[in-house]
């Protein structure tokens, strides 16, 4: 089978891109032809953040337009609007989250919702997404496969590493992405330090954004832009991952932490249902209950037996968890079944093209309107012209002009307006 993955920024570290690369490269291993279809030419930076990135064929959308695919899968939601550009028997969507939640802008949210409006093949990793998609788009086909845990990049340790001294807490995530909750996590840690909880802190980030946080007056050890095959070494240095993101798909980082014999404290965010159990392998709090995190940190720092209980169960969870080979086999089996069945939704291509045009025009208008400030004027009018028009509007509203207008009959006004429009157009 020839499978095209329409991707966004594949050259830089992200959990979402990691999932795409695992599937694409392992489908390739199984004898299928997997192609990464990118918005434009991709410049790779070495060393690569993912070792298999260089092995995968890459084409820009323009290059892929002349090819035929058995499956074309959108990945990041914006790529849905490029699906029509490739010829495919099955149009699908590798959907890892409800990505409207990534944006504050209403127009992006509304556009994102449109990505569920056609009966595509949806491949997804979390039960909450299956539920969401099937309720919203019951005519589509849904393939649910849990992401695997990479045994290559996150080999499970034999036993949780023994450690003396203070509790070691790891924060994970980039600083500048609001829903990842990293600044909020450091606030909680600061509160815990003020309340006398004893611990040390590290921060694993794809990008620190130049931030150098401190906790309790002590600098935080920053692990930045670590290649994926070295991340487990960072996890292995800590007892607990504190991750307060508010939006997740299947929620991979706690599982990666589990593989190295650490536990996690998180919000009851989407995706936790996949493998986390409060009091068994991790601790969870509802967002409104975030003050409880300080109590949990105190508990873990003073009750080594309880910490050991969580860490042991966390490691057992990781050991029992499916790996990428199994997940990819399931995806391949699902796609092969559809292929054999002869199922196609290629008739959706004109609808995909129409939606793409609407999306493009609308975003162009939003962009023009934003460029012109929040003026209600036509988006094609530039800022200088807007000032002139505003002056003209004020001039028309002025008393002398209004008095003059009253003297002129409506018929004459209509006729003058028509003549002026003819002359100017």
């Amino acid at each position: 089978m020839k499978i095209g993955f329409l991707v966004g920024d594949i050259a830089n570290i992200s959990g979402g891109s990691n999932v795409i690369l695992e599937y694409a490269s392992r489908l390739q291993d199984l004898g299928h032809e997997a192609v990464l279809i990118t918005p434009g030419p991709v410049k790779l930076t070495y060393p690569l953040w993912h070792p298999r990135l260089a092995d995968l064929p890459r084409r820009s959308v323009a290059e892929a337009e002349g090819e035929s695919f058995d499956f074309a899968l959108a990945t990041w939601w914006i790529t849905f609007y490029d699906l029509w550009r490739v010829n495919a028997r099955v149009y699908g969507y590798l959907n890892q989250s409800l990505e409207s939640r990534f944006h504050a802008e209403r127009h992006y949210k509304l556009l994102n919702r449109q990505t569920y409006s056609l009966p595509l093949l949806f491949v997804t990793e979390a039960k909450w997404l299956v539920e969401f998609i099937q309720t919203l788009q019951p005519e589509g086909r849904t393939l649910y496969v849990q992401n695997g845990l990479s045994r290559e990049h996150f080999p499970c340790v034999q036993a949780p590493p023994k450690r003396d001294g203070k509790l070691r807490v790891l924060v994970e995530g980039p600083w500048g992405v609001g829903f990842k909750g990293v600044p909020e996590t450091f606030e909680v840690l600061e509160l815990a330090a003020k309340e006398g909880v004893q611990f040390e802190t590290g921060w694993l980030a794809s990008s620190s954004g130049g931030q150098k946080p401190t906790v309790g007056g002590q600098p935080v050890q920053v692990h930045e832009r670590i290649p994926i095959n070295q991340v487990h070494q960072v996890y292995g240095q800590y007892d607990v991952l504190l991750k307060l993101s508010r939006v997740e798909g299947m929620f991979g980082p706690p599982l990666e932490m589990f593989s190295q014999g650490g536990t996690a404290i998180t919000y009851t965010v989407t995706g936790t249902d996949e493998y986390m159990v409060h009091g068994q392998n991790s601790l969870m709090v509802e967002p409104y209950n975030h003050r409880q995190i300080v109590q949990f940190l105190r508990l873990l720092s003073t009750q080594p037996a309880y910490l050991a209980h969580l860490r042991a169960n966390a490691l057992a969870t990781a050991k029992a968890f499916t790996d990428w080979e199994s997940s990819t086999r399931q995806v391949a089996t699902g796609l092969e079944a559809l292929h054999t069945e002869g199922w196609t939704n290629s008739h959706l291509r004109p609808a995909l093209a129409a939606m793409s045009s609407m999306h493009g025009h609308w975003l162009d208008d939003v962009w023009r309107a934003e460029r012109g400030g929040s003026s209600p004027l036509h988006p094609y009018v530039g800022p200088g012209e807007q000032v002139l028009l505003e002056r003209y509007r004020q001039f028309k509203k002025s008393r002398p002009v209004r008095a003059l207008q009253k003297l002129v009959s409506d018929d004459l006004k209509k006729s003058l307006r028509a003549r002026l429009t003819r002359v100017l157009s």
Binding site: L136, V145, H278, Y306, H309
Partner: protein
């Protein structure tokens, strides 16, 4: 949220409070036998005696400040938790609660409060955690009914009469009386597709209706928001329309219902993720025992297997109408499984 199964000794959990709290108590739970004992006409003794006779191992009491010290001492079980579901403004009530609760008190081992305590009196109480009044989602439909179009307007949080007139021109409107019984509230929610809610206060603090509506899969359109740390996301889980343009907002909903189905589904899901009564109270009891005595709690735990789901292959397309069995098959059944 999945929670470690409780100790085998925790078999019966009683909830005691006024009948209005019943929709907020799990009607059933996979982790223990649960039962609500209503307090009628302010008479606590019969309800407490009944809970004791039933053999409650743990008891959760709504509005513990209403009990006398003698009544508090009669709360049955090895663990008792007082649930404070609405803001406390009285210093006297805070002092009374201080005398009724704590590790050495003959009353409540712990209390919960709906938000971060604002006063020093409240901060000194043995607060286990923050807990807004949850919703028993098992009593709600097992999937949003996306075809329902009726608007529900509570008479205590209604837009102006002029705005209401505009809404009536758009579609059928039901006005919910402030005197409605819990059953009548449930019936009204089951018929409606949208809740229109106008208020000067944050939603949910004093009035559980917006959360109940979301748990029923209604689209909530409001001129106010929920408390920030509840993480109920505007535009993704409810519509925040502060401009008072109710007619325009609802017109948009009626003209383009497909755009807002996602909001209704997410609202329905969010209630189950963070506000489900069964999960919330299970975690309250779990943490109550854990923090009271971590060593004893650890010793009481039965061994468990790793909580790893059985992999699922292809999900077929779903031909039946939205709702019930389909959704239940995917999450509720799994959520109920203990390990």
């Amino acid at each position: 949220m999945r929670i470690h199964p409780p100790s085998p000794t925790l078999q019966r959990v009683a909830f005691v409070g006024e009948p209005a709290f019943e929709p907020h108590v799990p009607v059933q739970a996979a982790w223990a036998q649960v039962r609500f004992f209503p307090v009628t006409a302010g008479q606590w003794e019969p309800a407490l005696d009944e809970a004791r006779a039933w053999g409650a191992n743990a008891t959760l009491v709504f509005r513990p400040q209403d009990l006398t010290p003698e009544q508090a001492a009669r709360v049955p079980g090895t663990m008792s938790v007082g649930i404070i579901p609405a803001p406390l403004f009285s210093t006297e009530e805070a002092q009374k609660l201080a005398s009724l609760s704590g590790p050495d008190a003959k009353g409540f081992r712990w209390l919960t409060y709906l938000e971060t305590p604002a006063s020093p009196e409240l901060s000194r109480l043995p607060l286990l955690q923050t807990l807004p009044l949850p919703v028993d989602t098992a009593r709600c439909p097992s999937g949003p009914r996306l075809d329902l179009r009726r608007m529900l307007v509570p008479d205590w949080a209604s837009p102006s009469p002029e705005a209401l007139e505009l809404l009536r021109k758009l579609g059928p409107v039901d006005v919910l009386s402030s005197h409605a019984t819990p059953e009548e509230v449930t019936q009204a929610l089951e018929k409606a597709g949208t809740l229109v809610y106008a208020s000067r206060d944050l939603m949910g603090r004093f009035d559980p209706l917006p959360l109940l509506a979301m748990a029923h899969g209604l689209l909530v359109v409001a001129d106010t928001v929920f408390p920030g740390d509840w993480n109920i996301e505007p535009e993704d889980e409810f519509l925040y329309r502060p401009d008072g343009q109710w007619g325009r907002s609802l017109d948009e909903v009626f003209r383009m219902p497909v755009s807002f189905r996602a909001v209704r589904i997410r609202a329905w899901q969010k209630m189950r993720e963070a506000f489900d009564a069964s999960a919330c109270f299970q975690r309250v009891l779990h943490d109550a025992y854990l923090f009271a005595d971590p060593v004893a709690h650890l010793a009481s735990l039965a061994p468990t297997r790793p909580p790893v789901a059985v992999p699922v292959a292809v999900e077929a397309s779903v031909p039946e109408a939205l709702g019930a069995e389909k959704v239940q098959r995917l999450t509720r059944a799994r959520a109920a499984v203990t390990h």
